[in-house]
Symmetry: C2
């Protein structure tokens, strides 16, 4: 749980207490009595695919600086999951992609995050490292730097991807969430 000491609204001290009609401890302002809820955050990204290869980014920032990852980052206010995934892909890898179906959805409880990855097909083999990446490169399955991947959700997602590809499950590119309501911006 994030440590909160002062009320963001009035600046008074807050205390951890269980509000009326609630069953969890929240930070509640001692003065204005505002209740400050905390909720998990979404990290959205893509599996950028070019022919048989996958695009990975070497992280230029902590955590896990120097390790490889799929392009992904925190969903911002005012954007859809897909637009967030497209934005992060462009920012971190410079790649333009056509977004595909939602592929993996992983609860990362110890940091209160949900990691969401979409399949994405690169529209050309061009890419370049953004400010949060040291390097960006295409990898064959045989060259994936498994021991140098940044996060467990990236390892899982890549393992699932290659297993599905081997099993022939990725040919039919159907929408795998039956009903997803997205706003695809001009960015795409």
């Amino acid at each position: 749980m994030l440590v909160m000491k002062f009320c963001p609204l009035c600046g008074s001290h807050v205390s951890l207490k269980i509000p009326l009609d609630d069953n969890r401890e929240r930070y509640v302002c001692d003065s204005c009595h505002a209740i400050h809820y905390e909720n998990p955050r979404n990290v959205v990204g893509t599996i950028p695919i070019w022919k048989d290869q996958i695009l990975l980014c070497k992280r230029a920032i902590e955590p896990r600086k120097g390790y490889w990852t799929l392009p992904a980052g925190f969903l911002e206010t005012g954007e859809s999951l897909i637009n967030g995934a497209l934005r992060e892909t462009l920012e971190e890898s410079g790649a333009q992609v056509e977004i595909g179906p939602l592929f993996s959805l992983v609860n990362v409880l110890h940091v209160d995050q949900i990691h969401v990855f979409y399949l994405a097909h690169m529209t050309s083999p061009s890419f370049q490292a953004g400010v949060e990446s040291l390097e960006v490169a295409l990898f064959d399955e045989s060259n994936i730097p498994w021991d140098d991947l940044a996060f467990m959700t990236v390892i899982k997602t890549l393992k699932w991807y290659f297993a599905d590809r081997k099993a022939g499950l990725l040919t039919a590119n159907q929408a795998v969430v039956p009903h997803q309501d997205n706003i695809i911006a001009a960015r795409k």
Copy 2:
């Protein structure tokens, strides 16, 4: 955007500014320079199904008090999407369900929320209104109170559900997100 006036960490005033290496305005503390990010929140719920009927709850709280909804609420820290959906279903409707696949995923940009609904089969026709519900009832498709539904995401999800049922798409209860990593608690 939420209004923040004081730093939750040190209690000093904050200002809206674009941090170095960023491209969006954030609340930054004038004194300790902490950056306070804001992110969308997830609302998770179920479509509780008993035979041909759907369980709906009449809201006892604002917003939309007195209107009907699918059981759903904010995902809490420390819980998976599925556990959140099960908890909200039990809290609001008293229904025990077997969770099914993810069915709908809707970006609600104007309130910075993502609404996530899972198919769920009730294990018995027993239910009761929780503290946030005035009334809970099973509805046939012909009796759904369309004009008295609480939220657009509930209307969309129910319309999609009945359209899919009519089209025979709900018989194969496959996982529709290929890879979802969930922690199903003892609660289920």
